[in-house]
Symmetry: none
Subunit: 140 residues, 4 copies
């Protein structure tokens, strides 16, 4: 048997609080998704004004970050024609998302979940995802 650590719903809301605050600060209403360490959805919130298409994209970013234990923007860097990783962006029916804005959530060096943001530029999405993690780690 294996023991696994996983975000609780309270943890997920802490992550979201941090991401939402940053989204408000930069004036971009976001879709925010949190998955557990197995890449299954725990929490989702579309801020008033968040994009409809981003509801899926935010989920897929969180799914990818947790399931592959890798930030989506790192996949993005590697996913270039001529690199052996190229093509990963169409895997799992396109759910493997290589657009910046998905980050694994780590505690004590272990991935315990994922956070995905979408509605802004990838840079904005990444900034808000990181703000979520910073808030979570400082307040949990």
């Amino acid at each position: 048997m294996i023991q696994v650590n996983r975000l609780s719903i309270d943890d997920a809301k802490l992550l979201t609080d941090g991401a939402r605050a940053k989204a408000r600060e930069i004036g971009v209403p976001m879709c925010i998704a949190i998955t557990d360490e197995s890449a299954n959805l725990i929490y989702f919130e579309r801020m008033d004004g968040g994009k409809v298409t981003s509801a899926i994209i935010a989920q897929d970013k969180a799914f990818t970050a947790a399931g592959a234990r890798k930030a989506t923007h790192l996949y993005n860097q590697a996913c270039q024609p001529g690199n052996l990783v190229f093509g990963i962006h169409t895997a799992i029916g396109g759910r493997l998302c290589v657009v910046g804005g998905g980050l694994p959530v780590e505690v004590d060096g272990e991935v315990v979940g994922g956070i995905g943001l979408s509605s802004g530029t990838p840079q904005q999405d990444m900034e808000c995802a990181q703000a979520g993690i910073d808030h979570f780690l400082a307040n949990r």
Copy 2:
């Protein structure tokens, strides 16, 4: 009527033994998938610590290698903008995988199945897939 040769479940386990041993040697827990010559799944194993997203990707690499009778990294090399192969990575709902790590299994010049590895770098995945084939050919 056509006569076809196909991996048995015992063959699939031999392939997996070789791939798993190499994965342990390099310290990367892997997802390992084996398909028959018709690209249908025979065997799958997620080593403790293998990535969740790699469960599908390993299967799709084995599916592609057996079904197209071509290593996925060879598709990767060809799948570049300007080359007529480009775009093949979105085929079959994205199941045609061009990320390195899928190899056809050949016996006497005939493809009898496929092996797909995922969780490491494509180079690591390819190395473990090849180790599976080497072990199978030496011990069958």
Copy 3:
């Protein structure tokens, strides 16, 4: 943070050993799938002679049993026209499987994974899935 218990790959193989032995005893080669408590695939084996279509069905039975923490045959009983559960069989793109043969794996009252069998009658599939669980509980 939440702590979760999950089947290891060794546990998955114990479950499979028990199911395979029963499948041999009744003379029906089976597809056998094991998922973790998050419904993600850990292990799959198609015995020589197992049905091609059962490769997916066995996985979906294990997915359903673990993910919903309910035996698929219990969903089957409830999934009748006029019952409010009816229609659940088309959920999740049809992956929520209500055909008998999927059982949650419980340890100390907690669901730690799922087992799905397919290729025989539902009754045979259920019998082999139960044999897998019995073997696991007796030998872990």
Copy 4:
């Protein structure tokens, strides 16, 4: 290694000849699909006037009959609310077809492929599928 017998393209055309002749006799232009023993498509023909929707349905009938080694109308009989098989009709994304008109093709007691007909009533589809098999067995 396993040795498998499989329909050739010439076999597939024999099956189709028999099915097409019966379709003309009863005045119903049909979609005719032939799969190999692994449920992969070998041959497809939409007679002038065959239904567009039947192009997929005929393929799924042949897929099911070969992959599950069972006539689709037998699944239909069993797939009733209260029976443990109920729900099988939504499996594999709905590709597991329980509408009459798909038959496994057997030679010497071994399933070597499948034939699926669609465009008429299920009874007409079944009649033409059987005519295909009769013609094949008499002329191969």
